[in-house]
């Protein structure tokens, strides 16, 4: 009797064939029943809405009329170059968005990394200070942006502070949001203010996971604080920097909450960004049939976000 004949077959209902396990029908049914709610939910909330959004980007509709009017790729063309009504606004919003995308990640890294270093070196009160620096994140929202508006008004706290410090020439008589040349930089600063806490925490977590023997070895070799920071810590934290830059790029590209609440794109469209323009086309267009344009702009932003993610990922791979 060969060895093969002595080996018993696996149970009929659950045997492996070429790496696959076969189940009894009732088991399959139970599995399917348990998975079904998730699949149905995903079908409704995910596939359906994505499909709905994509198809809407090929139509004109104002949200009320019974039927959509199919226009093919016209919405995309109108936004990008074809329409003298929409393309110039989108171009200006794209330029503003670009400035935000450049400034916010850079400033966030420039502020949060030193802050994390400082916090990491503090022996006492570290928890308290960490909470204090995290406050902007947990309080960020409509109320905080309204508070910022009051601070930035012509008779707000910042002008008052500048006046009392003898820096009256830096005051903004129209308020920091009322002057077209200061409105966008001001919004960038507010955005950075709200994005620093999370970035700082990420850096702090990274700093606390750095092997202390590396620092000690550098110190023994005679490296000072600056040298350790520049040649040891900064390279070790590059992956975190990459994540922070990526997160802030995505937020800058698609986020518009700050802009909507504080300026609504004004004064005179000087702070309009692409995310806000998509919102305005959808909900603030005086019932014009621009929901399709809004959807098309949303998908263009999605494509831009995917491209950005791929580029950033490759850059991170090279850097590490």
């Amino acid at each position: 009797m060969s060895a093969a004949t002595t080996v018993q077959r696996p149970p009929r209902e659950r045997r492996a064939t070429r790496g696959r396990t076969r189940y009894h029908r009732s088991e399959v049914a139970w599995g399917a029943a348990f998975v079904a709610p998730a699949i149905v939910l995903f079908a409704v909330m995910g596939v359906y809405t994505i499909g709905y959004g994509v198809s809407l980007s090929f139509a004109t509709w104002n949200g009320f009329t019974p039927n959509w009017t199919w226009v093919g790729l016209h919405n995309y063309a109108d936004l990008l170059w074809a329409s003298p009504t929409y393309a110039p606004v989108v171009h200006q919003a794209a330029l503003n968005t670009l400035w935000v995308m450049i400034a916010v990640p850079i400033l966030t890294v420039l502020v949060s990394f030193p802050l994390a270093l400082l916090l990491n070196s503090v022996g006492r009160m570290r928890t308290v200070l960490r909470s204090v620096y995290f406050l902007p994140y947990v309080t960020a929202g409509i109320a905080v942006y309204f508070a910022w508006q009051y601070i930035l008004e012509p008779d707000g706290a910042i002008n008052l502070l500048l006046r009392s410090l003898g820096l009256g020439s830096l005051q903004q008589p129209q308020g920091f949001l009322g002057n077209p040349s200061t409105a966008l930089p001001t919004l960038i600063v507010v955005t950075v203010w709200s994005s620093v806490p999370v970035s700082m925490l990420l850096y702090l977590a990274g700093l606390q996971s750095v092997d202390s023997t590396l620092i000690e070895a550098a110190q023994i070799d005679g490296a000072g604080w600056w040298r350790i920071t520049r040649n040891v810590l900064w390279p070790l934290l590059k992956p975190i920097t990459g994540i922070i830059v990526l997160l802030n790029l995505r937020d800058s590209l698609q986020g518009f909450q700050t802009f909507l609440i504080m300026t609504n794109g004004g004064p005179g469209n000087h702070t309009n960004v692409l995310g806000l323009e998509a919102y305005r086309l959808a909900f603030l267009s005086q019932l014009s049939p621009t929901l399709g344009l809004s959807s098309a702009l949303g998908w263009l932003l999605f494509i831009a976000a995917v491209i950005l993610a791929v580029i950033t990922q490759r850059a991170m791979r090279r850097a590490t």
Binding site: R25, A33, P37, P84, T85, L177, G178, P267, G268, S288
Partner: protein
Amino acid sequence: MAVLLALALGSLVTGAAGCGSGSGSGSSDKTLVMWTFKQSHVKALEEAGKGFTKQTGITVKVQAYTPDDAYLTKVQAAAKTGDLPDVLEVHTNGDDLTFGGAGLVSDLSKDVDSGWLNSYLQQVRVDGTVTDQYYQSSLKPDSTLKGIKLGQRFSVPLTIGTFGIVYANKQRLTAAGVTTAPTTWEDFIADLAKVKAKEPNDSGVSLGLKAPSTGLEWLMQPMAYGMLGADRFHALWGRDNTTNFSSPTGTQVLDTYGKVTPYWMPGTQTLDIDAADLAFAQGKSTFDIGGTFTLAFLAQNGFDPANVVTFPVPAPAGGAINDLSLAPFTLTGMSVSSTTKNRSGAIQWLKYLAKPDVSATFAKEALDIPPTNLGSDPDSAVGPVLGAMIKSFGSGPSAYNPGDTTYKPDGYNSGDVGAVLMNFTPLKTKTSAQTGAGLTKLIDSYWAKK
């Protein structure tokens, strides 16, 4: 397996149904639900509702959703889920026709008979109906009115009024030696200068330019209409470069309008309409540009109506129209949703509000102007400030009617046009000629869409 799947799916469907398809607005034979986008109308409607309940036994629940954009989104969502109320307050000749074309509100043309219509002022009786102009507009590709049919009526008037009313702080005017309301644009600018000289800090003009259309529609347009007269004013929005905004006439209009630049309240370009009105109520500005509806907001925020002087935006001296007045049009109306379970009750409610005494009481409570005829002495019905506004209304070619948009292209977006105008004043980033060219370029793009 099929049974199990059916059970799983069934539970999901049941759950979803429980969440989504509710009983609509919560109305019944004895209760009506009405939505409004005006907080100042809630109490007044509730007061009127008490009388209606006594008469019919039907209770009216009034719910406000503000601001206007949020209201539209709410209606849009409610229409999708079948949760529309019985009655909706609407922007007349705007939302009502869009909702009607989409089947959200029902056609009232067979319900509103001549007896009912006669209770309204002559000039607003047609408001809310599909005229030939609106019908023709609905046939164009980008129309917001798709689906409407000639002769349908989708709303009846609730409040009337107009834009282009200047509110001024009476005490400060008096202190600066200004005792009468200005009758020309030049007088207006001179008064602004006098008040600024007396009170340099809080003397300015507030206007909610965060919504850029306000500068265009509430201040520049009435002034330009008085300056040019109807035909030349309408030509500013035309395609002829010898008469539109890019022409010397257009530049002249913008230069005249620009004389207000030194007198804007600092930062008014960052304020929304309510915030600008609030600034006036709090004494941060001395002048406030608004409409007939602004008084209610000022009073709600503690400004004494007795301390206000109102006058229409004046025309320049030597302009085409010496006696410029403002023509009233229906600002808001009421529509009956197509899904109401109590249509006859809703119709009764609309009819009840059209009674002159009920309408006057509503107006007095809401500090808004009713669409009904209040006779020769409106002061006694709605008080002296609203009465003065009603008396200042005009008609005919010397009256500027902001509700007339027949000369503008379809798809025209006053917000975008107003944003271009803002670059001239108050932002001062463009000259009048550059602004005129920019306005023409944008307006031409709307014409091109046709």
